[in-house]
Amino acid sequence: MTDITKEALSPPRSFLSQDAIQLFYRLLAVFLICAVLAVLNDSFLSLGNILNVLRQASLTFFIASGLTLVVLTAGLDLSVGANVALSACVAGTVIHTTGSPALGILTGLACGGIVGLLNGIMVTALRIPSFIATYGMLWVLNGLTYWYMAGETLHGFPAGFRQIGSGYLFGLPIPVYLLLVFLGIGTLFAQRTIWGQEIYAIGANPVAARLSGIPVTRRLLLVYAVSGTMAGLASIIFLSRLNSAEADIGESLTLPAIAAVLIGGTSLFGGVGTVFGTFIGALILTLVLNGMNLLAVSANWQPLVTGIIVILAVWLDMKTRRRAQ
């Protein structure tokens, strides 16, 4: 029996209370990590560090929010990091050659969106399992980006453009405002629109969704395109924050984004999870990595810790859901 049929055959359960409990645990985790770090390190509670954590979390969140929709449909997008790298390099080139940041931003978003759409086509029309299709895409994008950049680095962008990633408004970094905007849009879209509800339905039971008249292929294409476009958005923030673009900037982004989605309680088997949960997930992961940084743990430890967190998050999620059923 596959997990999808298991999910479909399980007795209906109250989503609200289950989700409320899950959210409570995660907020508790945020509070505990903050408390521990505040005790261990004086500079953790400084305004500068808190703003830094929020800005870092927002970068992870942009990639992870689109990915959340994909995971809600029981799919996965492993190409997001490589997509960020390609989109950043393409957008950077456009800004350099035309001198227009607006045009660069549009190209970056379009590049991300097109890659996402191609992922969607592979998953729907070619019917390749999503994790392997997007894994193939990862290497195609990596190859393209390295070939296109040929070892070069793009740097030096207009001051106005750099404000997007590094500027402040009323004392808060601009990415944090973008985070709030996209958190709002994402939550409204998933929870309050018919399309959003259809995405949950596809993840919970694709066959039932198809039989009840949901245009499954079109919704899946939308979901992968949104995931790609959000990677495009993240590439713009990266470009303006770093003030440079290199072929390798995406390599360390995919695992944290997946970690944020899974820590946030979105189930790999589809149909369960929220965009807000992913925000909390991004916050927890960033707090852990920031804490390691403050405690002078070498950055070499980050992939090890992120890997362990991914496995723990899925394992805990599966355990708690099994018990709830």
Binding site: L126, P129, W301, T306, I311, V314, W315
Partner: protein
């Protein structure tokens, strides 16, 4: 039990065309456009360069047959290669280095198998997590630096010959023979077919599918350990990104070789031809002066095309 194995047995005649055509087309194509491709020296070079991939693609075939996947193989190979380098440097002993690599690789394989079999975490996520762990450990043990000054005993493995055949090719052939025997001529082999096709049958036969699954992943980790020795010998150093993405070439070889991701069928000779296809593709693109980035992208395209065709076959 026997019935399950018979149902899962591939029909090689249906498969030979697919991967053999791919390999044939690639050889004819690069023979025509790449100068020196068909020279004996270059062809022998392709064979030697394909050995490390063979060591990964054979166990990957078994893992994919169980409807699993091991994304951590490249990162584990990197780590075992570093272990071989560090231990052989410290002890000046090739065998101790190999032992360390095999131990670390097998440990990762067992962890992968345990996660997949016991916790039930989907293989691609479980092994993505261990990929991060192996990558992190590689950075930690090497401190991000290359390990140089490897003893000659290690380095010579890659350049030595036996009866005129390069030693890495001999190792790959012996490995192939061992896997062929294991999969087609032992009970364990038919259990592996059943893991993909009919796990219930294993339970009725009084066997533990979980233990068998852990064994399959452990074989993968162990092979990554042996491949780690070849990698260290080939680069004459240990490097913290040496095996990056090699799991993808292995998945490509298995997919092109006609092992199905959906039906749990496997074909080892197809995987071997798939390894050669990937090797010829990379070598040929290299000869016509296309950078390694283009090679990476074209292997990506190869996988997507192979999986698309696999999907078509399984529906027809």
């Amino acid at each position: 039990m026997r019935e399950a194995a018979v149902v899962s047995q591939p029909n090689p005649l249906q498969r030979i065309p697919g991967v053999a055509i791919v390999l044939g087309v690639l050889i004819v194509l690069f023979g025509a456009i790449a100068p020196g491709f068909l020279s004996a020296a270059n062809l022998s070079n392709v064979l030697v360069q394909s050995t490390i991939l063979t060591m990964l693609a054979l166990p990957m075939t078994l893992i994919i047959m169980t409807e699993g996947l091991d994304l951590s193989m490249g990162a584990v190979l990197t780590l075992t290669s570093l272990c071989v380098a560090i231990v052989s440097l410290a002890t000046q002993s090739m065998l101790l280095g190999l032992g360390a690599g095999v131990l670390v690789g097998a440990a990762f394989g067992i962890v992968n198998g345990w996660l997949v079999a016991i916790t039930g975490i989907p293989p691609f996520v479980a092994t993505l997590g261990t990929l991060g762990m192996a990558q992190g450990l590689s950075l930690i043990v090497s401190d991000g630096q290359s390990v140089v000054g490897i003893p000659h005993s290690v380095r010579d493995i890659y350049s030595a010959t036996l009866l005129g055949i390069p030693v890495p090719v001999v190792i790959a052939l012996v490995t192939y023979a061992a896997f062929h025997g294991l999969l087609y001529h032992t009970r364990f082999g038919s259990y592996v077919f059943a893991l993909g096709g009919n796990r219930e049958a294993l339970r009725y036969a009084g066997l533990s599918p979980n233990k068998l699954l852990i064994a399959v992943y452990a074989i993968g980790g162990t092979m990554a350990g042996i491949a780690g020795l070849l990698m260290t010998a080939r680069m004459n150093s240990g490097h913290p990104t040496a095996g990056l993405g090699l799991e993808f070439d292995a998945i490509a070889a298995v997919a092109v070789g006609g092992t199905s991701f959906e039906r749990g069928n496997g074909w080892l000779l197809g995987t071997l031809l798939g390894v050669l296809s990937v090797g010829v593709l990379r070598n040929g693109l290299n000869l016509i002066s296309l950078p390694s980035s283009v090679q990476v992208a074209s292997v990506g395209v190869l996988v997507i095309v192979a999986l698309f065709l696999d999907g078509l076959r399984s529906r027809s």
